[in-house]
């Protein structure tokens, strides 16, 4: 679980005082915090670890690393359930499982 996963930033926004982004990993999009790379723009590629962008990479590096992680079966971090604020009182591990990441190609 110590490896970061590359994805493409598709949208940036502020939420509750934090710089956030939608990041595309293969076929799925997840939220990531940009506080540690605040100048990141849409269209750029970042390494994301447990919901935080920690390093910028170029597109070629992102695609290569994504594929390498997929082969190592190291993308399961992305399978963790999303927590929706309004529904967080429900148990998300049961009710809000999202689609698995394996088998998807990075766009």
């Amino acid at each position: 679980m110590c490896l970061a996963i590359p994805g493409k930033v598709v949208e940036t926004y502020d939420q509750g005082g934090l710089r956030m982004a939608k990041v595309q990993f293969g076929g799925i999009t997840r939220e990531a915090c940009l506080e540690y790379l605040p100048e990141t723009k849409s269209g750029e590629y970042v390494l994301v670890h447990v919901g935080f962008a920690i390093s910028r990479v170029d597109e070629a590096e992102a695609k290569r690393t994504y594929q390498a992680l997929k082969e190592l079966d190291q993308l399961n971090e992305l399978d963790a359930p999303a927590v929706d604020e309004t529904e967080a009182a429900d148990d998300p591990t049961v009710s809000r499982l999202i689609k698995g990441s394996n088998g998807n190609e990075i766009p």
């Binding site: 110590c2 490896l3 447990v50 079966d73 967080a88 148990d91 591990t93």
Partner: protein, 388 residues
């Protein structure tokens, strides 16, 4: 797939190995630090491609593996409380404590949730004001920025129902402990790439100089590992010992400064116990006094829990590069991914679990055979947590 070719090109791999053969004059023992690197090495049979006399031993860089058993027991004691929603990264759910794992607690009514980001705990806390939300904050430096942000936001937003059970460990003190041991065999390191993406690699320079051990910060793809191995051998053969960066396409010497700043505001360096190894001085983080209101260990009175580890397990020697999984009489028999006895079997990134997943408990295999059996073996061995 043009991007892939460059980093797994068989011709390039052969050239690197040929260059190792050309320059090598004596045996060398190198350690890859990161569990992701270990996994990649075993999966791709990289250790079996290397020239005879170049040995890779597997380091302590798997955070799930080195989280001490008694910390798992503390987590379980908190997770069993009816007033608690216990949040964790998926990898920790299957790690057994003295009595079951977090899945067992969940199935017997405990509210245990897998989160993608530590920040998810804030959302859960706002939606459940009558519950205490406790996050199991484990990891190396790669994970520290995320965990630090949860603690910082909980403090800034004056949230009274969010706390962290912290078990954070640091790579440089572990390398120093390995090098300082009288039993040490390791002469050079492949450094952990994504840890250094956060922290940079300045901290490694005095360690490399003091112990005359080359440290080459490396990625985890097959050619990254081969290239870094060559760079390390080259230094050793030339009598040099410096820190080099094989992974410059991802990181630089400085690392991520905003992340380091917040880590410094939230955490302070403290002694930490490592599963299999024991206490290493100043080898981890604890929450600073200013964040004590969010320290689960203080809030839930679990500081007194002490757990001993099974005596038969040799994971401590494996994590320090002194032994290999095959040296253990329990490997693949008494100890397997379903019933791990110790650190290196509890997560897919541990050396024993990686050897097991790729069939090395069965019989000696060549690199090609490993490639053929790998996919089936991966699916047969449910060593990956995180799939709640």
């Amino acid at each position: 797939m043009k991007y892939l070719d460059e980093y797994r090109d068989g011709d390039v791999a052969n050239k690197i190995v040929a260059e190792m053969r050309r320059i090598q004059t004596r045996p060398w023992v190198l350690m890859e630090v990161c569990g992701g690197q270990t996994h990649s090495i075993v999966k791709n049979g990289i250790d079996q491609l290397l020239p005879e006399g170049v040995e890779l031993v597997h380091g302590p860089g798997c955070p799930v593996c080195v989280t001490p058993l008694e910390m798992i027991d503390k987590a379980h004691a908190i997770a069993r409380r009816p007033d608690v929603i216990f949040c964790s990264f998926g990898d920790m759910l299957r790690v057994p404590g003295s009595d079951g794992d977090l899945f067992t607690i969940k199935s017997s009514g405990g509210d245990v949730r897998v989160v993608y980001s530590p920040l998810d705990c804030l959302k859960i806390a706002r939606a459940n004001p009558a519950k205490q939300i406790v996050f199991f904050a484990i990891g190396f430096e790669t994970t520290a920025p995320a965990n630090a942000m949860l603690a910082w936001r909980a403090r800034e937003e004056r949230m009274t129902n969010v706390s962290l059970l912290v078990s954070h460990v640091l790579v440089p003190p572990a390398l120093e402990a390995i090098l300082a041991s009288p039993e040490n065999r390791v002469q050079g390191f492949l450094g952990p790439g994504h840890v250094c993406a956060v922290m940079g690699y300045s901290e490694y320079i005095p360690i490399s100089a003091r112990y005359k051990a080359p440290i080459v910060v490396a990625g985890f793809e097959p050619l990254d590992i081969l290239e870094a191995t060559l760079m390390t051998i080259k230094q050793l053969e030339e009598g040099r010992a410096v820190v080099e960066n094989q992974y410059s396409r991802v990181l630089n010497q400085t690392g991520n400064l905003p992340a380091q700043q917040l880590i410094g505001k939230v955490f302070e360096v403290s002694d930490r116990k490592w599963r299999g190894i024991g206490t290493i001085p100043l080898s981890g983080y604890r929450l600073r006094e200013e964040i004590a209101a969010h320290d689960a260990e203080k809030l839930f009175d679990v500081a007194e829990i002490v757990t001993l580890e099974p005596e038969i397990c040799i994971s401590g020697s494996i994590l320090r590069g002194i032994k290999k999984p095959h040296d253990c009489p329990a490997f693949g028999t008494l100890c397997n991914p379903q019933h791990p006895l110790g650190a290196t079997m509890v997560s897919a990134e541990g050396a024993c679990a990686a050897y097991y997943a790729y069939g090395r408990h069965l019989k000696p295999q060549g690199a090609d055979a490993l490639h053929r059996i790998a996919p089936a073996a991966v699916h047969a061995a449910p060593v990956n947590g995180g799939r709640a």
